[in-house]
Symmetry: C2
Subunit: 193 residues, 2 copies
DNA sequence: GACAAGTACGAACGATCGTACTATTTTATC
DNA sequence: GATAAAATAGTACGATCGTTCGTACTTGTC
């Protein structure tokens, strides 16, 4: 029964992009069915509830994020090169979604919407921050960063930079934004050397 | 005819807080009417359309933001003290709204939703960035910053920091987030001295 | 006190929401 | 090719969406 898996994958792909534009809460079963040429009930049968649909979109996004951002970066030499690769991959991945990074918009949407969706999102965000911390630690090990750095602070600094880039990139059409992101990244990296 | 103004003000206050929680798009005329003890049609009469309601909520927020964040900061001695006051006021203002800063969530929501609401939001965000640039320039004038700084870069750096703080503050309950924000701010300020 | 303007309500509209059922078609297995 | 399972469609539900309309009550002005 591979047909069902294929359909579901397509739905999640389209749903992910739609969620990046409109926000997870505004992805409607009717709209998503229309966009995938399915009937409302046919699509609904794959997910049993809207909450499940939202969770599956988030998990699908996490899968894609892992494959396109994290894993490739881990293949780059540890330290500053890996950090720069991670940032580049993140920017690339975010800009392939119509509305930008879904985790950023979902974090804004669900920061005050208790429930299973928020729980999943929170867990994902914690994993992301842990990933940033591990990458800082590996930079320490190879000597790119000094020994006594605060990896939590590094994660905060780097994630803040990405959030700034994300807002500028999606809201304005600022030709210089890449240059600013690059300048800020260099300053952050230097402060941990 | 002061009664109408009072009612409208209350609606906008409640609507602002609701929008900070759920996002501007999910503020429903029915819900907002219920929350303010008005009838749907009674509330609707004040705004003529949902789009107008959203715009008026944004303008109301801008008014409040200006009064609570910008104007008080401009009364503080120019330079680093003023910048720190601005950051403190921003954090204070954002934390008084249930869902955090409405401009942050609206920016995520409306980055790909063309229309008048997006236009208003974009204009407000550009004004905010201009405000950050002016404050950097006044820091140059009093000698807290060196002469050759890039004020656009400063605005980007500072806004990124606020966005990072905002996400951490609203998503996690991280007791150390104020400390991290403080550390990042100090590092930014030092890099412009 | 009359009268206009401002303010709020109730009922109703077509559309769409998420969800529940029952068919019907498609697919995989023997 | 028969058959069971899986996948999709059809229809309908109660609720709520944004909006319109006619009407009542309140207020300030003359």
């Amino acid at each position: 029964m591979a047909k069902g898996k294929d359909t579901k994958f397509t739905v999640l792909e389209v749903g992910l992009d739609m969620a990046s534009q409109l926000g997870l809460e505004c992805v409607t079963i009717g709209n998503l069915a229309k966009a995938t040429n399915l009937s409302k009930s046919g699509l609904f049968a794959h997910f049993q509830s809207k909450e499940n649909l939202q969770i599956e979109i988030l998990n699908h996004a996490a899968q894609s994020f892992s494959e396109s951002v994290i894993i490739p970066a881990l293949k780059i030499k540890a330290g500053i090169p890996r950090i720069r690769a991670l940032v580049d991959n993140w920017i690339q991945w975010s800009s392939e979604l119509t509305g930008g990074c879904i985790f950023v918009s979902a974090s804004a949407d669900f920061s005050d919407r208790p429930g299973k969706v928020r729980d999943v999102l929170l867990h994902q965000q914690k994993e992301w921050i842990d990933c940033l911390k591990r990458i800082a630690q590996s930079a320490v090990q190879v000597g790119d960063f000094r020994q006594d750095i605060d990896d939590d602070q590094f994660a905060f600094d780097l994630y803040s930079l990405l959030l700034g880039f994300h807002l500028y990139y999606n809201l304005f059409d600022d030709a210089e934004i890449r240059k600013r992101q690059e300048a800020a990244l260099t300053r952050i990296l230097n402060s941990y050397k």
